[in-house]
């Protein structure tokens, strides 16, 4: 299991990193999403892998050996924040695309020497 999950995390991370280094904004959004899956799983895995013992106590509330709840709580909020991040970045890229006319991460096509007039150089 550990081998499978760690390889999976590796593949997600590699795909995410690759996409984040691409020139088109949509690629970067997807890369960010994939990389956040990888990181969430990585953090979750820090609590070690347990099968069939969720951190939900039984009816008598007797303490049994369960999976580590701390990474789970960390990841749970990270999931929601990750969604917000994706939304924000998507909107930023749409706004940038609307203003500059290009969906390149730099706001202009690579062969275009001067920035678009709508996107003055800082």
């Amino acid at each position: 299991m550990e081998v499978v999950l760690s390889l999976g995390i590796g593949v997600f991370a590699a795909a995410g990193v690759w996409l984040m280094l691409r020139p088109r904004t949509f690629q970067v959004v997807l890369g960010l999403a994939l990389l956040s899956y990888a990181v969430n799983l990585f953090i979750f895995a820090m609590g070690r892998l347990t099968v069939g013992a969720p951190p939900v106590l039984g009816a008598g509330a007797e303490v049994v050996s369960v999976d580590d709840p701390v990474p789970q709580a960390l990841v749970l909020t990270a999931l929601v924040i990750g969604f917000a991040l994706t939304a924000l970045f998507l909107v930023v890229l749409l706004a940038a695309r609307g203003i500059t006319g290009s969906d390149h991460v730099d706001g202009r096509e690579p062969h275009q020497a001067e920035p678009h007039p709508g996107n003055p150089k800082p």
Partner: protein, 975 residues
């Protein structure tokens, strides 16, 4: 009032006054003056009342400041502090009166007095500081406020430059001082001033003595404008003249002097002190006096003369002699008095004639005899003419110079150079008086000169009176105060001295006479040539302009930084990200290599399950597929990313994290919808567009490098994850949470209990972030301007409409309305069930997988499905969702749920729970955390619905604006 309260009142009043002054309207010149005057006099009275006694036993007021560091806020008034406080407040009060008449009605005078009072407070803070850290704090405060004061007329470029240079130099010195005083504090083991002053031997014998000394002196010498840091002072003359009169006589520059006097008992008495302080003082005295001679600007002359006198005082402090310290304190007082009056006189001349140029001024004696007399007395005091205060301290200086000759190389030259500097002083004082007040009547001045208003002269009159009184009867006036100050510094080493005017014929008298005669002689010989010297630069030194060098250095620094940025930086995001990844990888490799990271230890392994491996095979394929297709096939890439998310959700479920699985799958749904909504606004990408061959080769190379980086990052993360997972679990805080979840929070779902109870404050922060992101998305989309090529109707809509057009009996939009008819009905009817599911997830959250986050997103999905099924207009005609209100209400509920615990005297967000007996359901636990969870749910609904709806509305907006366009077109046609 008890003494320590008087002291605290005196220290705090200026800051209160400063805060009040800025509240006054900009034109309230009289009110601001009155306020500042009252504050100054009240503080002065407080300090004055403390006089008998404070010079013997220091008055102390203390309170806790940084208790964990053992640093207390201490106000400490001894003889020296008393003398300086009176100088600061007394001359300050006169400057307030003077400034009222100097400033024009158009100037925002309340702002001036706001800065001024803050400056007074900071200066008092320095002299009253009973703690090293506190001293540095007020020290830096004076640097900052003096920046504001010098730059008061900020529309004037030279005021801005002067202010900036003063701040750069003095604040940098202040940072050195901080380090120096921290070093001293660590040598002594306490930052309390009384303790430090009693540990002179410890400090001098410490190996850290030299660095501490150098750092403290850099602070003092920058502030006191000592060579080579003196360049800021002449440029600070761009300040309004009352401010110059204040900064360069009694305050600011005297802060450095005060510091050297204050720490004289613990730092002086060594070779290094002697060389640094003595040399700096000597050089400054000579260079300042020499430069002052050649100034054509009245204020410039006074500025360089100030530098020279500060050098004289510094030189005195450098000599290892207790009597020299007394002379230094005495000359500090005298210089403050005569220099303040001279600056004020220069201000009057400038005010009444419109110029400060010594070459244009002439014969003002006729027009303003009264001012002329006052200025002459003050200038005579500066030159050291007998019967005036300047004479007494200069005599003491000359006598010290004569007595200390011999030991060192510097001392051999001491009497000669001291006499020379005194002669220069006489020369420039004489030139000031002669050029301004005598000679032929002035011609073509900007204004016809006349005496100023009565009240403007009063401050000068009082100061000149002090010059004469001290000069005539020193023992009755300054004597006791000086003795108190000297005792505070020197303690038992206080020497016997005599303040008499006449000491008989001796070496100092001879040097004094020589200086007076020499000064007059030099003026007679060279006066004309000095006055016609075209550039006003001093002879021999006109090529050496410190200010110019400073500006050059600063410009070079900025240009160098810019050049470095241009060479090393990039505006391109890809290059930046690549650099970040490479740096992170390098750091990881370095850390691994340094610690000998062994990734593959034999350890704990969970049993292999082929189904799990198969699932991940699909997940990996999804991820790789998404990476490959994201450029040209966005839709399939978005779906593949969704597949990867699904796999990670299943993984959570498999590995005992049902909460995560539920949340992940719900988040996955909304994220996918969001991406699909966004796709519509992206440009078409055509694979067939050929790129130039060179471009293609470059792109291939870049892609290969990126592939290596990605593969390396992936393998690294995989290896790291494997290494951690196979190591035995650490028994951390998890056990406590699991054991206490039910007894302390009444919840069985430990993850949810963690989120809404144990770590609720974190969660509060996170939902705040979520709300802010929602609002940001909304704000960004309100100004959204789509690119022109995505304005047209989508392809599918065009083909639908064409179909409708082509067939008889079908009206436009029928095909679109028929599409997805069955799913649409199903989605509409799903609404109550999903709402019920959300409610279910929410209510069971404390005990079973679910909770506010999952419930909130589920509820969003319910709304979203309606939008997808029926379109925004249909939904909004029936269902009013106001996501912004949801965000506000959610945050409010969460905060109130947390604040509720205050009612029971418990800290914020303390949850409590109890059991209620309910009909049918029996005994159920009820926790206040449930209310907090409700807030989370409402906020999550608000934020995610806001993002989705705002994005969905963009298409509508286009339709609306197209409709408006069409209507307009019809109107113009009919017209």
């Amino acid at each position: 009032m008890p003494p320590h309260l008087l002291l605290a009142t005196a220290a705090i009043l200026p800051f209160l006054g400063s805060a009040l002054a800025i509240c006054l309207p900009a034109g309230a010149r009289n009110a601001a003056t009155l306020l500042a005057g009252i504050v100054m006099l009240a503080s002065l009275t407080c300090i004055g009342l403390l006089y008998p006694g404070a010079d013997r036993v220091p008055v102390v007021w203390a309170m806790d400041w940084l208790p964990t560091l053992g640093v207390r806020f201490v106000l400490r008034l001894d003889g020296l502090a008393w003398l300086f406080a009176v100088l600061i407040l007394g001359i300050g009060a006169l400057v307030v009166l003077y400034a009222r008449y100097y400033m024009a009605a158009a100037d925002p005078v309340p702002r001036l007095f706001c800065y001024f009072l803050a400056f007074v407070g900071a200066m008092l803070g320095i002299v009253l500081a009973g703690n090293l850290i506190q001293l540095v704090m007020f020290w830096e405060l004076t640097s900052i406020v003096s920046f504001l004061l010098i730059g008061y007329w900020f529309d004037n470029a030279s005021a801005r430059d002067g202010a900036r240079m003063a701040l750069t130099i003095t604040a940098a010195g202040g940072l050195c001082l901080l380090v120096g005083l921290v070093l001293i504090g660590s040598i002594v083991g306490s930052s309390d001033l009384s303790v430090v002053l009693a540990s002179g031997d410890t400090i001098r014998n410490s190996p850290l003595y030299l660095p501490a000394l150098v750092l403290v002196l850099v602070g003092a010498l920058t502030k006191s404008a000592q060579f080579p840091f003196h360049i800021w002072l002449p440029r600070a003359m761009a300040a309004p003249t009352p401010i110059s009169a204040y900064l360069h006589s009694a305050t600011m520059v005297k802060a450095g002097i005060f510091l050297m006097i204050r720490f004289w008992p613990v730092l002086a008495g060594t070779e290094s002190w002697y060389w640094i302080v003595g040399t700096a003082g000597m050089a400054t005295m000579l260079i300042g006096a020499w430069s002052a001679i050649f100034q054509h600007d009245l204020k410039g002359l006074l500025a360089y003369s100030t530098i020279s006198h500060l050098g004289l005082i510094t030189l005195l402090l450098g000599l290892d002699s207790a009597l020299a310290v007394v002379a230094a304190i005495f000359h500090t007082v005298n210089h403050a008095i005569f220099k303040a009056s001279l600056f004020m006189a220069a201000g009057i001349i400038d005010h009444e004639t419109g110029t400060r140029d010594l070459r244009r001024l002439s014969g003002l004696w006729r027009a303003m005899p009264y001012t002329a007399t006052l200025a002459m007395v003050a200038a005579a005091a500066m030159a050291g003419v007998p019967l005036l205060n300047g004479f007494l301290s200069k005599e003491m200086f000359l006598s010290e110079a004569a007595d200390n000759a011999g030991d060192h190389l510097l001392n051999l030259a001491l009497p000669v150079l001291a006499t020379l500097a005194s002669a220069f002083t006489v020369l420039y004082s004489l030139r000031f008086i002669r050029q301004t007040f005598f000679g032929p009547a002035p011609r073509d001045l900007p204004q016809a000169p006349h005496e100023p208003v009565r009240w403007m002269r009063i401050p000068i009159e009082l100061l000149v009176l002090a010059c004469i009184a001290i000069g005539l009867v020193p023992n009755l006036t300054i004597g006791p105060v000086l003795a108190g100050a000297a005792r505070a510094v020197l303690g038992p080493r206080t020497p016997d001295y005599d303040l008499a005017i006449w000491h008989g014929f001796n070496a100092p008298l001879a040097m004094s006479v020589l200086a007076l005669a020499g000064g007059v002689g030099l003026y007679v010989a060279f006066g004309r040539r000095i006055n016609t010297n075209p550039r006003g630069g001093p002879w021999l030194m006109d090529r050496l302009d410190g200010g110019w060098l400073f500006e050059r250095a600063m410009t070079g620094l900025v240009q160098g930084a810019r050049g470095l940025e241009g060479r090393l930086g990039s505006e391109r995001l890809q290059a930046q990200l690549r650099a970040i990844y490479l740096a992170a990888l390098a750091a990881a490799v370095a850390a691994g290599a340094a610690r000998g990271l062994d990734l593959f230890l034999p350890g704990h392994v969970t049993e292999f399950d082929p189904a799990f491996a198969l699932m991940w095979l699909v997940g990996a394929a999804c991820a790789v597929g998404a990476a490959e297709r994201a450029k040209y096939h966005r839709l399939s890439a978005a779906i593949l990313v969704g597949g990867a998310g699904l796999v990670s959700s299943l993984t959570f479920l498999w590995l005992s994290a049902p909460d995560l699985a539920v949340t992940q799958i719900l988040v996955e749904i909304v994220t996918t919808v969001l991406l699909l909504l966004g796709l519509r606004w992206l440009p078409k990408r055509d694979q067939a567009i050929p790129a130039p061959a060179a471009e293609q080769a470059r792109a291939r190379r870049r892609r290969f490098i990126d592939l290596c980086i990605a593969a390396f990052a992936g393998f690294g993360l995989a290896g790291l994850a494997y290494a951690v997972m196979t190591r035995p679990a650490v028994d951390g805080i998890a056990r406590w949470f699991v054991e206490e979840a039910y007894p302390q929070a009444g919840g069985r779902n430990v993850v949810n209990v963690l989120l809404v109870d144990f770590r609720a404050f974190d969660t509060l922060g996170e939902i705040c972030v979520l709300g802010i992101v929602g609002l940001t998305v909304f704000a960004l989309l309100r100004r959204f301007r789509p690119a022109s090529d995505s304005l047209g109707r989508p392809k599918q809509q065009v083909s639908h409409d064409a179909y409708d057009d082509a067939r008889a009996g079908r009206s436009l939009g029928d095909t679109a309305a028929d599409a997805l008819l069955v799913p649409r009905v199903v989605m509409t009817w799903l609404f109550p069930f999903i709402v019920l599911l959300a409610l279910h997830l929410f209510l069971r959250g404390h005990d079973l997988p679910g909770g506010g986050f999952a419930a909130g997103i589920a509820l969003t999905v319910a709304f979203m499905l309606q939008y997808m099924a029926r379109g925004a207009q249909w939904v909004e005609a029936r269902l009013r969702i106001q996501p912004i209100t949801w965000i506000g209400v959610g945050l409010l509920v969460a905060v109130l749920a947390g604040a509720g615990s205050w009612l029971f005297g418990r800290p914020f967000l303390t949850a409590s729970f109890t059991y209620w007996e309910l009909p049918l359901l029996g005994k159920v636990p009820v926790a206040s955390a449930l209310v907090f969870d409700l807030g989370i749910m409402v906020l999550v609904v608000g934020a995610s619905a806001l993002m989705l709806v705002a994005l969905a509305h963009q298409s509508l907006r286009r339709v609306r604006s197209a409709e408006a366009e069409a209507e307009r077109a019809v109107e113009t046609e009919s017209a």
